[in-house]
Each structure stands twice: as structure tokens, then as C-alpha cells.
């Protein structure tokens, strides 16, 4: 049991040390990457604001992530409601279509979308980026929703109809309030996923530059501590987005719990 605990904590250290190092170096006063660190400053953070291209990339990434989250939410809400109603066969078809991409490398998805765009003569743009990000985030949403909906008691909808609510009224008063927390946290996760996406984006971006693509070019161009400060902010942003996701998820857990208790 002690051994198990040791392995668990060693693994955690392995996962966290690289992130901690990046954060430490972002406050490094010198332009070096060697240990030990001889002083701290915020100069690399100040530099961020002097780089207009960085700002543009950030805005573009935020726009793309927002669009991705909205499209994913719309498609995903309909698909989850469908999942509740379909028979076994329909469910399998929907799952194969909407979950399989998660088991494929981003390289494969990126390249195949690039080929499609080329064949259709579509110009690569922000739109193609959003299209590709939705292909990545729908599977994640479907996995999360499937786990949530497995707990969903469909007789609740019947009870509502029985008590006099129409189909639309039932959706508004019963179904949506019960699945909304999961949907919203999925939308937030889609946002985070899109905001950080690089592998697929690099194939379908054309001349557009998102934040990860800009970081990538910085990484290839030079070795500058600016990357550390940008990375630290990106990291904090991811954590903040996730924290919001969990805040919503708390309602989700509470409702799931009470639902389980009632059945």
C-alpha cells in the first residue's frame, strides 16, 4: 500500500514538475534557461503587451473557440436528446459517427480535412478552423453526455406529459434543466479544447494565425523567455476555464445524485 502511494505521488510529480518549471522561468529575471534561477521579475509579462501580433492571435483564438463552443453546443444538445430517444441501432450509428474521431490522431483528421478543402476548392480560413475544431469537440461532448444521459430517467418526461405539459413544455421545464449543467460544462470544455488546439489547426489554418500557432512559430524561431510567460498565462487560462466548468459541474453532480436517489 505504501508502494502504491509512492508510485501515485511520483507519477503526479512527473505530471506537474514541467508545468511548475515553466511558471518559475516565466518570472526569471535573466534570459537564460539554466538552473538555479538568480532573480525574479515580470519583464517577460510586460513584453507580451508589446507584441501586437500576439494580441491579434489571441483575439482570433478567442473568436474561434467561442464559435466552436456554440456550434458544438447546438449539435451536441440535439444529438444528446436524440440519443435518449433512439433505439439500440440508432444509438450505435450515432455513437460511431460522433465518438470515433477521438480514437484517431489529430494528424489524420487534419490531413483529411485539408484534402477535402482542396478537393472542394474551399479557401482555408477561420471557418475551416472552426469546422475542424467542432469535429474534435463533438466526440468529447458525446462521451460526457452519454455518461450523464445513462442516468437520465425518461419516465420524467412521461410524467411531465401526463401532468399536462406539451412536448415543448416538457423540454423547457424538465429535460433542459436536467441536462443543462452537463451541456454547459461540455461547451466550456469545447472552448478550452479549441483554444489550445494546434495539431489539426496547422493543416487547415491557411494563412490564419491562432495563439497556439503563434506560440509554435515563436518556439521554432527563437528561444525566448517570452514563451514562458505566454505559456503561463495560457496555463492559468485553461485552469480558470476548467474551474468554471467544475463550478457548473457541481450542480450537475448534485442533480445526478438526487436523481439516482429517487430511482
Amino acid at each position: 500500500m505504501m508502494l502504491l502511494k509512492a508510485v501515485v505521488y511520483a507519477t503526479l510529480a512527473y505530471l506537474l514538475i514541467p508545468l511548475v518549471v515553466i511558471i518559475l522561468f516565466s518570472f526569471n529575471a535573466e534570459q537564460s534557461f539554466s538552473f538555479p534561477i538568480n532573480g525574479y521579475s515580470l519583464r517577460w509579462y510586460a513584453l507580451i503587451f508589446e507584441d501586437p501580433q500576439l494580441g491579434q492571435a489571441l483575439v482570433k483564438s478567442l473568436m474561434i473557440a467561442t464559435a466552436t463552443a456554440i456550434v458544438t453546443l447546438v449539435l451536441g444538445t440535439a444529438a444528446s436528446l436524440a440519443w435518449l430517444r433512439l433505439g439500440r441501432f440508432g444509438r450505435s450509428v450515432l455513437e460511431i459517427l460522433c465518438i470515433t474521431p477521438i480514437a484517431l490522431p489529430g494528424l489524420f483528421l487534419g490531413v483529411s480535412l485539408l484534402v477535402l478543402a482542396a478537393q472542394l476548392g474551399v479557401r482555408l480560413s477561420t471557418v475551416t478552423i472552426v469546422v475542424s475544431h467542432v469535429v474534435l469537440s463533438v466526440p468529447m461532448l458525446m462521451i460526457a453526455m452519454r455518461a450523464r444521459l445513462a442516468l437520465f430517467d425518461r419516465t420524467l418526461e412521461e410524467a411531465s406529459r401526463d401532468l399536462g405539459a406539451s412536448q415543448i413544455g416538457t423540454f423547457k421545464r424538465i429535460t433542459l434543466p436536467l441536462i443543462a449543467p452537463t451541456l454547459i460544462s461540455c461547451a466550456i470544455l469545447s472552448f478550452a479544447l479549441s483554444f489550445d488546439e494546434f495539431v489539426v489547426t496547422s493543416f487547415v489554418a491557411g494563412t490564419e494565425t491562432t495563439l497556439p500557432m503563434y506560440i509554435w512559430s515563436m518556439m521554432r524561431r527563437t528561444v525566448t523567455p517570452l514563451i514562458n510567460s505566454v505559456s503561463t498565462l495560457a496555463l492559468l487560462f485553461s485552469i480558470a476555464v476548467m474551474a468554471i466548468g467544475f463550478f457548473v459541474g457541481r450542480f450537475k453532480r448534485a442533480s445526478a445524485l438526487s436523481e439516482r436517489a429517487s430511482s
Partner: protein, 370 residues
């Protein structure tokens, strides 16, 4: 069919109802009339079609053919929300994101009942089910019995003409179940609603119902008052499904003019029952309840009798159960009310067992073989 003698038209009337799911015939030739104010139980083994029948009345399923009238009106085209019936679901289906009060108020709210009126009616109903003190609890914080009360209140507050209950006690412990049965009877008396109650539990059916509708393989087997169904089953299925019974199997032969005799391993029994749907040369059984049998001397005019040996005795407080084997090799059981000081036979004893001719029913064996 026994529809009672009320002069009014029945509240629910099903004629020639059929229901098919793909190739599966779920319900066949259903004719049923339910009167205002009755408690009617749909009783049958799982998968017999009783829940389907209830869901058809509620509007969640539609008949493949036949008609369903509620209050004299054909409701085939009415969706569930437009029907004057409400349902108590098997696992209650209480809304987990609403508290007790809002669950009960739900139906009135969607119908647009004005707020003060709504509040008054919900509170009155919560009082009826004795849940007014817990009205702001969430569903996850309630016990099974409390959920049951909320589910009843949520349905009844809408003043339905018919309350449908789908195995509402199945998820409860035995003790709470018995208590809730009493409660349900009380609430039915207070509200005067018509109850249609689905269950596979014969005890619940007999305790609660004015009439029992026995269903097997998608067909109505018998509709009767509980006591009639228990003592006068019309089929072997009914005899076996309600309570425990002893079956003496044999062949019917004509023993005289208009007289039948059941030839069994233990000799012939003269058949007196003339309502039995049996005739000569049929394989048949005589069904006798264990509590109808006794160890007293028989009267050849009034009683049937066999000689048997006691294999085992089980004492269970108020009653004793005797496992016997007749001289003809037939196994059967006798139940006797225990009295202090009464001398009862023990295992190994040879006894004479008798029962009144009118307590036995002779039933055809061929029709239903379950």
C-alpha cells in the same frame, strides 16, 4: 363480464383492444369497463401486458386496433397531456431539480392555474398525503415511502378522473408497503378518485381492489371481485396465480345423466359444480385451497375426502402447514388454524382429509397450461 349494475356509462371503456409491437402481440381482444369511484387492479405476471394496457389508457401507447373511451369520448387522438388521467410511475419519476412543493404544483402550473389557488390546492393535497412539513425538501432527501406520497399528491392534485398506478409499491420495503396500502385506500376514499392499479402481487391486488382484472399473455383471463376470483377461479391459471392451491388431476367421465365424475389417482370425485366449463373426456383438475381442507370426518353427501400420510408439519404461529401424500401418491398441503391445546397430527400419521364439495372448483386442464 361483471361490470356491476351501475346505470351510468362506465368511466373507461375498452372494446376489442389489440396492441402489437412489431410481430409481438402484446394485447389481444381487450374488453374492459371501469366505473367511477372503483379501485380496479390489473394483475398478472411480468410481461403479461398489464403495464402496456395502463400506458394505453395514459396515452403513452396507442391501440393497434379497437377503441378506448374515457367518459364516453374516444380518446385515441388525445396526447397524454390532454387526457383526464394522471399516473403514479413505478419509480415515481419525481423531478429531481424541483422540491416537493414544486413537484406537486407542476401540473397546475403548466395548466396555468393562478398562483394563490395553486398554493392552496398544493397545500391541501400535501396535507392529505401528510407531507406538508417536508414541502421544501428536494427529492433526493426523501425516503422511498415519502417519494411515494409525493408521487400520489403530484398526480391527485390535478383532480384526475382516473388515477393510474404502475406497481407503485414495488420499490418499497415490505413493512412500508403494507402501511402504504392502507394509506392508499384512505386517500382514495378521501378524494373519491377512480384508481387503476397495476401489480404482479396478488396480495396487494386482493387487499386493495374492488375488482381484479387478471391478465395472462396479453388476454384478460377473468374479471371479478377478489373473493370471487379466489374461491371461484375460472381457469387453472387463475387458481394458481391467486394464493396457494392443491390440484387433483384426472379425467372427466360421464357417470350418469348430466353427471360428471373426475377419475383421479385417489378414486373418482363426483363433480357438482355445473358452471365448470368442462365436459366428458376432458383432462381436468380439481382445485382446493389448503385452508378449505381439514382432518374431520367427512360427510359423503357434502364432502370430498382422501386418505393420506403426513410427510412434514410446519408450525407458523397462528397456523400450521401439513405436507401430505395421498394413498394414490398425490402430494398436497393442508393449512389449519392453530388453537391452544388442540391436538394436531404429526409426521408419519395416517389421516383422513376432507373438504366441502362447494369449496372445490373443477377446471379444464387443456386450455391454459401454465
Amino acid at each position: 363480464m361483471n361490470n356491476g349494475t351501475s346505470a351510468e356509462a362506465p368511466l373507461i371503456e375498452l372494446s376489442n383492444g389489440q396492441k402489437q409491437f412489431g410481430l409481438f402481440q402484446a394485447l389481444t381482444n381487450i374488453n374492459l369497463a371501469i366505473n367511477e369511484g372503483e379501485i380496479v387492479t390489473l394483475l398478472g405476471p411480468s410481461g403479461c401486458g398489464k403495464t402496456t394496457l395502463m400506458r394505453i389508457i395514459a396515452g403513452f401507447e396507442t391501440l393497434t386496433s379497437g377503441t378506448l373511451k374515457i367518459d364516453g369520448k374516444d380518446v385515441a387522438s388525445l396526447p397524454p397531456e390532454k387526457r383526464p388521467v394522471n399516473m403514479v410511475f413505478q419509480r415515481y419519476a419525481l423531478f429531481p431539480h424541483l422540491d416537493v412543493f414544486d413537484n406537486v404544483a407542476y401540473g397546475l402550473k403548466v395548466k396555468g392555474v393562478e398562483k394563490e389557488e395553486r398554493r392552496r390546492r398544493v397545500q391541501a393535497m400535501l396535507r392529505t398525503v401528510q407531507m406538508e412539513s417536508l414541502s421544501h425538501r428536494f427529492i433526493g432527501e426523501l425516503s422511498g415511502g415519502q417519494c411515494q406520497r409525493v408521487a400520489l399528491a403530484r398526480a391527485l392534485v390535478n383532480g384526475p378522473r382516473v388515477l393510474l398506478l404502475d406497481e407503485p409499491l414495488a420499490a418499497l420495503d415490505l413493512k412500508i408497503r403494507q402501511h402504504m396500502l392502507g394509506e392508499m385506500k384512505r386517500i382514495q376514499l378521501e378524494t373519491g378518485a377512480t384508481f387503476v392499479y397495476v401489480t404482479h402481487d396478488q396480495d396487494e391486488a386482493m387487499i386493495l381492489s374492488d375488482r381484479v382484472v387478471l391478465i395472462d399473455h396479453g388476454q384478460i383471463v377473468q374479471v371479478d371481485r377478489p373473493q370471487d376470483m379466489y374461491f371461484r377461479p375460472r381457469s387453472l391459471f387463475a387458481a394458481k396465480f391467486l394464493g396457494e392451491t392443491n390440484l387433483f388431476e384426472g379425467k372427466l367421465t360421464v357417470s350418469g345423466i348430466g353427471q360428471l365424475s373426475l377419475e383421479t389417482q385417489d378414486g373418482p370425485f363426483e363433480v357438482v359444480s355445473n358452471d365448470a366449463a368442462v365436459s366428458g373426456n376432458d383432462a381436468a383438475v380439481m382445485s382446493v385451497r389448503p385452508e378449505a381442507m381439514s382432518f374431520r370426518q367427512s360427510n359423503a353427501q357434502l364432502d370430498y375426502a382422501v386418505d393420506a400420510e403426513i410427510a412434514d408439519v410446519i408450525f407458523s404461529g397462528s397456523r400450521s402447514f401439513f405436507h401430505l401424500v395421498s394413498l394414490g401418491g398425490q402430494k398436497f398441503r393442508v393449512q389449519v388454524q392453530n388453537m391452544p391445546g388442540a391436538a394436531l397430527p404429526v409426521a408419519g400419521d395416517k389421516v383422513h382429509v376432507s373438504w366441502r364439495k362447494d369449496s372445490a372448483t373443477v377446471l379444464p386442464l387443456s386450455r391454459i397450461s401454465s
